[in-house]
Amino acid sequence: MADEVVAYARDKNVSKIVVGKPAGPRWREVLFGSVVNELVRKSGDIDVHVITGERETPPPAGSGARPRAADWSGHAGAAGVVASCTGAAWLMFPYFALSNLIMVYLLGVVLVATRFGRGPSILASILSVAAFDFFFVPPYLTFRVADTQYVVTFAVMLVVALVISTLAARVRRQAESARERERRTAALYAMSREFASTRGVGDLLGVAVRHIGEVFASQVGVFLPDAGGHLGLGVGSLGRPDDDTSEHGVGQWVYEHGQMAGLGTATLPGAHALYLPLAASRGPLGVLGVRPGIRRAFAAPDQLHLLEAFAGQTALAVERATLAEQAEQAQLRVESERLRSTLLSSVSHDLRTPLATITGAASSLLDGADQLDAPARRELLQAIHEEADRLNRLVNNLLDMTRLESGALQVRKEWHPLEEIVGAALARLGGRLGDRPLTTRLAADLPLVPLDGVLMEQVLINLLDNALKYTPPGSSIDIVAGVDDGQMRLEVADRGPGLPPGDESRVFDKFYRGRLAGTGRGVGLGLTICRGIVEAHGGHIRAENRPDGGLAFHIVLPLADKPPEVRIDDG
């Protein structure tokens, strides 16, 4: 053993070895030699420090109740088996040689060893020899032995029984630990499998807390650091010690040192729970706190190793999820950055054009008032007025868009006749409609629709504005509404050039501008706002080229099951 330690130390360039002072009895040291002495002799240039090891205090009487009960039942079982063997041997006694009866006892010992383990099987070995002597070796029913050669028989019988029991018990232990390993692997696998189908750090930790809690019969909490590196309980609960500052200190220590501490470890063993770091490749992510139902649950190293495996798996999964989230956010940032720059370039162009017109026209009115004749002055004033109007619409669209995107848009639904909304939109467009032939065909029996009148008016204005921009002057615009299949359908259609194939859904994208763009007529937000408002009403909007030329926008709005009653007087 010392050789291995020294070889390992040299291999890893270790300069110091710390060993505990031997705690075993002195005779063992004399008999088998001391690892410490050997280590000191062989270490060469490596320093060896010998420290006092704390003797593990035996478990208090209460805590080990369960295994002790198992022992007693094992010993009782051993006694029972020996009694049965004695019974069988008693039946065989008249017909078989004594050596065969010994076989019966050995069989019993094997049985006890495989069923109950080492302690009971040793007891069974001793009891077997005693029973054999008592019942079957003359003089019968005493422990006295007539013939001294039986002593040899007893000794061989005892040794054989002990060897058998040791071997059988070892086989049993191996089978048991194999079973345990399998159970743990299965538990670990179950958690990993659930991790695979879980998204988000919070949910992952929830899964981990549940699995670890079940496997170790413990209360489990995960502590996560805040921006300043201070831990706070993130998921799960440790029961009472949650708000205990000393418990918190243990967690914080674990987080800062990356080593486990607390209950059952050498560091701060007084804690109520065991704390393990959730160590990832880029440093600790947090701390896993486990408060077992039985205080000594993690005294066995295999339990502790299993817990470490769970902590490791959890840390890995959390790190993976965090990285995925960060990647997603980075992607979003890039996307919004791109949008912002498009918005900026688009807006700055669209704001500058009318501003340039206004500044130019106003300055020429100021400077050259005397040279300008009345029609020219009027032309310039007209330009200023129109461009200011355009600026106003632009700013309104930007505001609407911002409101939609920031979620600040509030839909205040009231019962509206569609006709009124159409009328208000047409009135607001007013002069801009000019002499456009415009037909409105609204079904006579349209029900009241629950909608936000101001917002829906804006939708109509944007759609009509769009038609005015992208269709030749003098071409007609149709507004049609009807109820179909329990839904309100509203159509705004023009006789313009329509959309290039494939652009029917792109037309609602931000900054999409039709082919007549370049004249700088809009920012490309109007239709995006339309879609935002319609969808905020639970409806949808689509664009479609008309079979006989032109473009149509179809809006579908959900109708309420039961519009409010209006008592109509007939007086």
Binding site: N396, W415, E419, E420, G423, A424, A427, T440, V454
Partner: protein
Amino acid sequence: MAEARLPEPTGPMVVLIEDEPQIRRFLRPTLISQGYRIVEAVSGEDGVTQAATRQPEIVILDLGLPDMDGLEVIRRLREWTAVPIIVLSARGQERDKIAALDAGADDYVAKPFAVGELLARMRVALRHAAQSAREPTDSTFAVGDIRVDLGRRRVFVSDAEVHLTRTEYKLLTTLIRHVGKVLTHRQLLQEVWGPPYADQTHYLRVYMGQLRHKLEVEPARPRFLLTEPGVGYRLVTE
């Protein structure tokens, strides 16, 4: 802080309560050129004082003042005077407009506005103020093809009599009484249906639709019975 000009002494006096110098800058010459005497106030407190000392015939009030809520100014003015108040508001502030109108403002103009629009509102408000001083004498009201004989409760469109229900007639006459002026949903509902109906806007909308179908040539593009989106209705005379 008041800055008084001494324009033509004949016109009605306006107290303009507006903190934005740019707005005052273009309103001042415009109003003076229209024959108004104008007193400017740059804060709500100052405005209330000016209104009390100058006894103006009309007040123009910006809702977004730095020192106090425009609504508060309206309430304080209404404690002692019935002077017409016209509110300047921004777009998208329908709730503020309604609150201002319900608090006693006579009308509103949304920024940015054309001066012609503001002047029209001011004329309507001044006319109503003058009318309520005298008792209204007109027994007929006419706009476009529509003629209403208020004395005999009969309504004609292009000289053909139209039958209106009692509620429709009441709605129409309420609008006629306040012709040119915006009326909020609440004001109309309370006046025509009574206070319990103050929030039943769909009643108003349905009846307004009926009225338009009976009186307007193109009900979906009304010329006289106009909607003020989110606020109320207005009967205009071309």
